[in-house]
Every structure is written in C-alpha cells, then in structure tokens.
Amino acid sequence: MNFWLELVIKLVAVLLTVLTGALVVIYAELKAGSHMQSRIGPYNAGGRWGWAQPLADGLKFLQKEDLAPAEADRAVYGFAPYVVMMSTIAVFVVIPFGPDLWAADLDLGAYFLLAISSISVLGILMAGWASANKYSLVGGLRAAAQLIAYELPLVLAVVAVVIQAGTMSLNGIVEAQADTWFTIGTFEVSAPFLVRGQVIGFVIFMIAAVAELSRIPFDMPIAESELTMGYLTEYSGIRFTMFFLGEYASMIALSAIAATLFLGGYALPGIPDSLANFAGPGVLLGKVAILIFFFIWIRWTWPRLREDQLQRLAWHWLIPLALVNIAVISIFKVAF
C-alpha cells in the first residue's frame, strides 16, 4: 500500500482507539464507582443507562471560555496539556492488537514505551509552574517527585520481562508467551509470563502504574481535599479536557502494556491462527478491561498515601524487590 495512505490509516486508527477508549473508560469509572458508593451514577444522559454522559461532558468542556490566569506564562501554560496527551497517544503506536494489527513494530518497543511515557512528567511540571498559583506549584512538585520515583520500579519490572522474553519488541514478547512452555504428551502448553514466574513483577508493575497515573492511593499531586486539584487547579475548558482524557488514555495504555507484557497480549490459547487477527483486539481489550476494573476498584476504596509514605514505598520496598526479581528471573533464564 501507499506509504502515506497506510500512515494516515494508522494514525486515524490509533487516535480513534484512544479517544473512544478513554470515553468508555470514563463511563465505566463513573458507573462502577457509583455502584460502589451505593449510588446510581449517570442515569439520564442518552437514555436510561446514561452512556452519553462522557460525550455530554466533553461537549460541555469544548464550549467553555478560554481562561488563563493573568500572571500565567501563556506559552508554557497552553502547551503543557498537549505534551501530556502526546506522550500518552504515542504509546499506542507500538502496542500490537493482533499478529498484523499494529502501527509500528519496533525492535526497541519496550524501551520506546518507557521513554515516551516519561515525557508526561515534563508536561505536569510545566502545568504546575506556569499556572502562577501556589497550589499548582506544590502539586506540580509533588507530581514530579512521585512520578520520577515510580518510574524506576516500572522500568525494572519491564526489564525482568524483557530478560525472560529475550527481546524488547512487543510483538516478540507476545509471541514468546504464546510459545510452548512445555509439552504434556502431544499437548503443547503455553502460558503468559504472569504464570511463568512474573507474579512479583506484575504486582510491582501495577503498583507503579497506579502511581504513574496519579490515581488514589497515589494522588497526592491532585489531592483534591488539600490542594483543590493541585497542578490542574487553573485549567478549564479544552485544556482540562486534554488532561482528563490523557489520564484515562494512559490508564488504557498502561493496562495494555501490562496485558501485553504479563498476560499474553492479544493471544489466547485455543484460537486458531486464521482467526487471530479478528479475535486479537477483543482478547486484548478483555484483559485490559479486567485491569482497568482493578484500577477503578482500588481508587474508590482506599485513602491516599502521604508524600513521604509514598516515597518510602517506592525506594525502600518496590525498587529492591524489583532488583531481586530481575536477579531471580535471570538466574532461572540462564539455568533452565
């Protein structure tokens, strides 16, 4: 196919996936969270199930006035949400939805993911500083400290997977999990890395992911009851929508990464190869949905950790544990 046509199709596909996915996840959070609080949640918008609520919210935000604080640094203030959004969308470029359904198959897939997603820290710092507001500044600084601290366990957990798979390419990792592990008679058994000894790695990755998303219990940067939205305080309208969508998009992104690295990605044992391209996205989305439900569940149940407790968790517990994990996986990889 024409290179440019292919490029356009891929771009459109990725953008659509991200945006509709984000809206669906927002709706799921509203509904699931409400039921956990013995409420009903969105009820009227778009009929009885309130499915059009996120759309309605989005349209409402789009038509709001473009406000910026008088003292704010307009350029930085305006650009910050797009930095965050851009780094989130870029992640989806490498995630494989099926054996042939991917936008780019990089040899350095895992490395690319981690590098790009850490650019969002910059965006948050920009937002916190440029808002000319002390609450935002404190929130931005908290966010920077937290996100940098939790990058490390994230990276180390991914390193363990890469060692076990033998390749950094995400397609390669999915295929490594679909490969036979051992045979019982003529029956070939394959299992995702979670089952093959990456339990600790998975737990570390999920905890670090919640922290990277700044969700409760790690939402010090946005601590609503203390800092009235932290670095997001001065944002409204379209820019706030960008942040908002970005948060939910990165929730999907991190879940997709976790599903690809630990749960087997688009592959499911028992699906014949001919159907893999059709069933692949469904399988991946199913796994992503389960992980997102865990994110939502935890958010509505637990309180938030204090900043120093948060840091202590990362540096005293997660990082040493991740290093031990790497060592153990390496030993097993070499020995067996």
Binding site: G33, M36, Q37, S38, R39, E71, A132, N133, K134, Y135, L137, V138, R142, I216, P217, D219, M220, A223, E224, S225, E226, T228, R299, W300, T301, W302, P303, R304, L305, R306, E307, D308, Q309
Partner: protein
C-alpha cells in the same frame, strides 16, 4: 525572609513572588476541607508547615448581642443554629438553664424524649464526621454510606419535631406538645407520632450495621492507619489547658463525659459506656466517635423501653418571668461541652448570655498542634478535631 510578625491579617491576595525557604500558603476561606469558612495562613517550608494562623469570624452572627433583645422562647428558636449539625443538642442546655432559674422541672416523659433526641443528634453529628473524615484522607466511599444512614436518623428527628436540622422543639418546662395527626380535638394526639418507637429501634439496628461496615472499610485499613496513627498527638495536659472537651479530650485519655457526671437528663437510668482511648492521635479521635455511635444507639434503645408515660410539658405560668440570678448550664454536646451562662435581671430577656461553644475551644489548639506538621497531616488533624464554623463563630 518573612517572620511571623510580618504576616498581616489582611494579606488576602496570593502572591506569585516566592520567597524561599518559607512560603505563605493561604488555605483560604473557600477550601474543600476546612469545614466551612475558615482561613488558615500557613507558613510552609516545602511540605512542612512552620506556623499557622487561623482567621475566623466569617460566620460571626452576633448571637450574644442578639440574645439580649430576645425573649427566652425566641432564643430557643435561634440557638439550634449554632452547631447546625447537631441541632437539638444546642437547645437542651439553654432550656435547662432557664428551667433552673425559674424552678420549673420538666416531667419525666419530656426528659426522656429530650434524651432520645439528643442521642439522635449525637449519632447524626458523628455520622457527618465519619463520612467527611475519610474523604479528607482520600477515601471517597464512606461518605455515601454514612450519609445514607444519616438520612434515617434525620427522618426520625423530622417526624417528631418537624425539622431535620433546626428542631426548635424545647419549651420551658418540657417539650413542644405535638398536635399529631388525626383528630384535631385538643386533648388528643399530644404525643409522639404513632410507630415512632418501632422505627427508632429499626434505625438503631441500622446504626450498628453501618458501624460494622465502616469498621470493615476504614478502621482495619492499613492506609488509614498509616495516615492517622501518631499524627497530631495531643497530650492530656495540653488538652485541658486549651479547653478541649468531648471526643477530642476522651481520645487523649481523660474520661470526662458530662452525661455521667452531671445529671441534667436521666442518663442514670440507662446503662452505657463512655469511649476513652489513650494516645490522643487522629486515629483515637476517630475511634472514639465511632464507638460513641454504638453507645448512643444503645442509649436510645434502652430509653425507648424505659420511657414513662405522662404529660409532655409542665404547667408554666402565662407570663414567664425569670427571676434574677446567674446560672451556668452545660451539657454534653456531640462535639464537647456546650454551656450557657445566663445572667438574668428578672424580666423576659436575659441581661447577658455567654455561649460556651465547643468548637471554639476545640479550635484554639490548632496553632499548637499544627506546628511542624506536613500539609497532608494538617488536613488530617483539622478534620479529626471535628469543628463546625457556626459553632466557632457564633
């Protein structure tokens, strides 16, 4: 570098210019977690609060001056708005003070009903605390569950008194005789609504259930413990020096409960425990209030069984003249000791009414306890003191 003396009270604008190492953070009157319009001028060094100056008075309504131009009956209507979360409990000490001055004693049934309504007010106030305190720590779910249960209690109060928050139910010599539903002949239907006791018992069962649910959701939670244990410790001696009363004092180890000490209502006939914890940190204050909900449910159940029959109001002369004298009347409000010092010079209006409001005294300790705490702990400690700005400002 700013020194404490340089913080001028009228520094309302948040300045962009940053002065390291100390920054003045204004937790302004409008803030999600200051329980009303309270302004805190905090000098912050990174995340650590060096000094806090609370600014109050945004809700000052001048109760004490207003009371000098209102008759005692009119003051009863005003007074339940001081601590609006526990409406009925504010009226009780005032009306008891007037009854002491006039020598009129309320009949036993009225006293029991006052006791039941005070305990319902206590449950209502503590449920507000249980719902809003975890929210300040970040847990969003107990809010909904506790407030849902509170609806049952508020419905009970409304059934009897006509008002959820501002009952205006006490009268000198008893409580307001109800002209309940049904026939309008004068001598009938002057008592509590039919089926009230049944509904109250069911509501108390729900109170026990919500306490169990909250125990599961919040109390055993490691994260809650990490945020509240050993945070904001107030030793007993300091608490007494600052005039802390109620659950705040009982969490610091001082077993001081006016319900046991002063027999202003027939608590002697009822068997209940007072919740005391050593330690004085935020977790203890939270636990004391949770236990008090259970004990209040216990009191209400026993009061329902033991309530005597009889009239609801004593015979009161047509023109109520309160003799000359001064009396200090106090009661155990949900938030602490609530008192009225009534100076009467004969006549229909008091010469001076001094209101000893619980949250005012509870709030005085804020600068001391917040010294050198982290900002998240500031919110946790403020929430654990459970004050209401109407009570602070009168």
């Amino acid at each position: 570098m700013t020194t404490p003396e340089m913080i001028h009270r009228s520094e309302a604008a948040v300045s962009v210019e940053l002065q390291t190492p100390d920054m003045t953070l204004n937790l302004g009157p409008q803030h999600p977690s200051t329980h009303g319009v309270l302004r805190l001028i905090a000098k912050v060094d990174g995340e650590r609060v060096r000094d806090v100056e609370p600014v109050i008075g945004y809700m000052h309504r001048g109760y004490e001056k207003l009371s000098e131009v209102r008759t005692y009956a009119q003051i009863t209507a005003l007074v339940n708005r001081i601590d609006w979360v526990s409406g009925f409990a504010n009226e009780v000490p005032f009306i008891l003070g007037v009854e002491r001055l006039t020598g009129i004693e309320a009949p036993p049934r009225a006293q029991y009903i006052r006791m039941i309504l005070t305990e319902l007010a206590r449950i209502s106030s503590h449920l507000v605390f249980i719902s809003s305190y975890p929210l300040e720590l970040g847990a969003t779910t107990p809010l909904m569950h506790a407030l849902r249960e509170r609806e049952y209690v508020l419905e009970l109060i409304e059934e009897v008194t006509g008002g959820r928050f501002h009952p205006n139910f006490n009268r000198v010599g008893g409580i307001k005789p109800n002209y309940g539903g049904g026939s309008t002949t004068k001598k009938q239907s002057m008592d509590l609504p039919a089926g009230f006791f049944q509904r109250a018992s069911e509501a108390m069962d729900r109170m026990d259930k919500i306490c169990d649910d909250i125990d599961q959701l919040v109390t055993g939670n490691e994260l809650i413990k990490m945020r509240t244990v050993d945070v904001g410790v107030i030793p007993a001696a300091k608490a007494l020096e600052y005039g802390l009363t109620g659950p705040n004092l009982r969490a610091s180890g001082v077993a001081y409960d006016l319900r046991k000490i002063e027999n202003y209502l027939p608590y002697d006939d009822i068997d209940f425990d007072i919740a005391v914890r050593e330690g004085g940190d935020c977790f203890d204050r939270y636990m004391v209030r949770l236990q008090e909900i259970r004990q209040s449910a216990r009191i209400v159940r026993q009061a329902i069984e033991k309530i005597p029959t009889g009239p609801l109001q004593a015979k009161v002369p047509r023109v109520l003249k309160v003799p000359k004298g001064q009396v200090y009347s106090r009661a155990e409000n949900p938030k602490g000791e609530f008192g009225y010092y009534i100076v009467s010079e004969g006549g229909k209006m008091p010469y001076r009414l001094k209101i000893r409001s619980t949250s005012f005294s509870n709030l005085t300790i804020l600068p001391w306890v917040l010294k050198d705490e982290l900002i998240p702990d500031l919110v946790a400690i403020m929430g654990s003191l459970d004050f209401v700005l109407g009570d602070v400002d009168r």
